[in-house]
Amino acid sequence: MTDASLTRTEVPLKRQLKRAERARQVKALALVLPLLVFLLFTFAGPIAGMLWRAIEDREVRQVLPHTIAALANWDGKDLPDEKAYAALASDIQAARAAGTIAIAAKRLNYALNGFRTILTGTSRNLKAMPEPGAARETLVKINPAWRERGTWTTIKDAGGPVTGFYLLAALDLTRNADGAIVAAPPDQAIYREVFARTFLISLSVTALCLILGFPVAYLLATLPPARSNLLMIFVLLPFWTSLLVRTCAWIVLLQSKGVVNDSLHWLGIIDEPLRLIYNRFGVCVAMTHVLLPFMILPLYSSMKAISPAYMRAAASLGAPPVTAFLRIYLPQTLPGIGAGSLLVFILALGYYITPALVGGAADQMISYFIALYTTETANWGLASALGAVLLLATILLALVYGKLVQGQQVTGGMKN
C-alpha cells in the first residue's frame, strides 16, 4: 500500500509488515476452513457422489465378471465365441447361488426391456453347468434371445465401470447395437418433455412474478419510507411463512368446495365448481405466490437506487411522462429485473414440494422424477443423471446471476 514511500532503510519494516500481513491472511483462512471442510462433507461431497453415480456402472460387472472379461475383446460384429457363453453360464450359476441375479437383471432391463425375463428365466432353467463346448447350444435352447447380437451388446455396454447410458437416457438418447447414439424408443423418451415442462412452468411463473411484482416494487420504492415499510410487511410476511402453510392455504382456497369456488357460486358467476387445483393453473398460482417476494425485493432495491432527479431532469427537458418512464426509468431497473427474474427462474427450476402437492400427474417437474427414481424405483443412475442435468442448468444460470449482481454492485458504487 505504502510501498512507494518506503526508503531503503525501512526495508526491514516493509518485510515485517509483509510477514504480519501474511500471518493475518493465514489466520483469516483458518477461520473459513472449518466451514469449507464441513460443506465438503455435508454438501459438495454428497453432490459429487451423486454425479459419480450418474456415470458409474458396476452392477453387471459385479454379478457377471467372467462374461464381461470374455466380452472385452469381442468386436460386436458377430455373435461372441463359445468362451463367452461358457463364462456366462458359470457366472449365472454363481450368481444364482449368491442370489445376485436380480441386481444384474434390473440394470440390464433398463437398457433392453425384457432382459429381466431373459436372465432370470435362463438362471431358472440352467440346472447344471453345460458340457464343455456345448454352452452356446444349451443357452440358446433355454432362450433364443442368446442367439441375438443385441442381447450380447447390451451386456457388453453395461459392463462398466463407467457408462454414458444414464446421461443419454436423461436426454432421451440411447446407443443402438452398433454403438451409435440414436433417439430412445418412444416409451422411454419422456425426459425432454419433462425438461421442457419444467422450463415452461418456471418461465410462466417468472413472467407472472415480474408482471405482478413490478408495480408493487415501484409503489414501495416511490412511497415515503414510513408507508412503504408498513406495506413491506405484506411482502415479508408471506416470505417468512412456511412453504407448507402457503401450499396448504392454496389447496383450501382453490379446491372444488374451497373458498374461491364457494364465493363464485354464491355470487352466481358459476354453477359448477371450477377445476382450479391439481392442474397447471394451481401449480402456477401457488408457485407465483411463493416466489413473488424473490422478485419484489431485488426490483425494490434497484428502484430505490434510482435518483428521482433523473425523472425530474427528463420532465424538465420536455419528455412526456411515458417517454421519461420508458427511456429513463425502465432502463435503470433492467439490472433489477434481470436479477429478480433469474433468481425466481433458478428457484422455480428445482421446485418439488409445491407441484407435488397442488399439481396433477402432467404438471410434475424434473425434481419429482429425481425423487421418484431415488426413493420409489431405486433407479439411482437415472435419478443422478437427471439431477446432473438440473444441476448443470442451475449452475450456468447462477453464474449469469452472479455476473449480473456483481455488475450492479460496481455500478451502484458499493465497495466490494
Partner: protein
C-alpha cells in the same frame, strides 16, 4: 415523484392510481391465502368451508394431544436449535475470516459457501441420501442437523458478513490503543456492535431449518419427522382442520421471527444514525 403533489398531468395521476390498484390486488393475493386459512382452524366442523358453523378450539386440542404432532414440534425445535447453533459457529467464523481474507480466490470460495442456497433441494437431498445411508446417518437426528446446518450457514455468512462490512474497524483499534486485550476488545466493543447481526443470522438459520422439508422427506425416519414433514403427509392424505391449526401455529412462529428481525433492524439503524 416521491409524493403525490408532484404528479402534475392527468396521465401521471392515472398511472399512479393504476399502480396503487394493481399493487393492492397483489397484496391481497399475497396475504389473503394466509389469512383465509386461519379462521378455519377455529371451526367446530371438520369441513374446511365458510361460513363457520361454530367456533371451537377442538383442532388445537387435537394438535396438542396428538403424540404425532407434538413429536413433530419437538423434532422441529431440536433440529432447528441444534443446526442454528452449529451454523452460527461455522458461519460467524467464516464471515470473520472472509472479511479479512484477500485473495483472488475469494469470489470462488464465497460462491462455494453460498451455493447450498441455490442448488435445488432435491439434488442436495438425493446426494445426502446416497452419502449418509452407508454411514448410518439417514434416519438419525445427527444427519438431519448436519444437512440443515449446510443449508442454513450461507444465511449466517451473508447476514454476519454484511454486519462486519459496516463495522468500523477503527473502534477495535481504539480499544486496543486504550489498552484493551484482543479478547476484551471483542467482548466489550465488537460483540455488542455485531450482536444484532448475529441475532439476525441466527433467526435466518432457524427459519431455514424450521421450514425445510425436502431433505427431511428423504432422510428422516418415522422418529425424526418434523412439523413441515407431518404437514406434507397430512396434505397428501387428506386435509383435516388439525393441519390448519398446525399452519396457524407455524405462521405465529414466523410472525414472531419476522417481528424480532424487524426490531433488530430498527435498533441497528438507530445505532448507526446515533453513531
Amino acid at each position: 415523484m416521491s409524493d403525490n403533489s408532484t404528479l402534475r398531468t392527468p396521465s401521471q395521476r392515472i398511472a399512479w392510481t393504476a399502480t396503487i390498484a394493481v399493487s393492492a390486488l397483489v397484496f391481497v393475493f399475497l396475504i389473503a391465502p394466509i389469512l383465509a386459512i386461519m379462521p378455519l382452524s377455529f371451526s367446530s366442523s371438520s369441513y374446511l368451508t365458510y361460513p363457520l358453523p361454530g367456533v371451537s378450539l377442538r383442532w388445537y386440542d387435537d394438535f396438542i394431544t396428538s403424540p404425532r404432532w407434538m413429536n413433530a414440534l419437538k423434532n422441529s425445535v431440536i433440529i432447528g436449535v441444534a443446526s442454528t447453533a452449529l451454523s452460527m459457529v461455522l458461519g460467524t467464523l467464516a464471515a470473520l475470516g472472509l472479511a479479512q481474507w484477500k485473495s483472488r480466490f475469494k469470489p470462488l470460495v464465497l460462491a462455494f459457501v453460498l451455493s447450498p442456497v441455490v442448488v435445488p433441494g432435491v439434488i442436495t437431498a438425493v446426494g445426502l441420501y446416497f452419502f449418509f445411508a452407508p454411514i448410518g446417518l439417514t434416519g438419525s437426528y445427527i444427519g438431519l442437523i448436519l444437512a440443515h446446518t449446510a443449508l442454513a450457514t450461507p444465511f449466517v455468512v451473508i447476514t454476519v458478513g454484511a454486519t462486519l462490512q459496516s463495522f468500523d474497524t477503527n473502534l477495535a483499534r481504539a480499544a486496543a490503543s486504550l489498552g484493551a486485550s484482543p479478547l476484551q476488545a471483542f467482548r466489550r466493543v465488537i460483540l455488542p456492535l455485531i450482536l444484532p447481526g448475529l441475532a439476525s443470522g441466527a433467526l435466518f438459520a432457524f427459519a431455514t431449518s424450521f421450514d425445510e422439508v425436502v431433505i427431511v422427506l428423504f432422510m428422516a425416519g418415522p422418529e425424526q419427522r418434523t412439523l413441515p414433514r407431518e404437514m406434507f403427509s397430512g396434505i397428501r392424505e387428506n386435509i383435516s382442520p388439525t393441519i390448519t391449526a398446525a399452519a396457524v401455529i407455524l405462521t405465529t412462529i414466523s410472525v414472531i421471527l419476522l417481528a424480532t428481525l424487524e426490531a433488530l433492524r430498527r435498533r441497528n439503524e438507530r445505532l448507526k444514525a446515533g453513531g
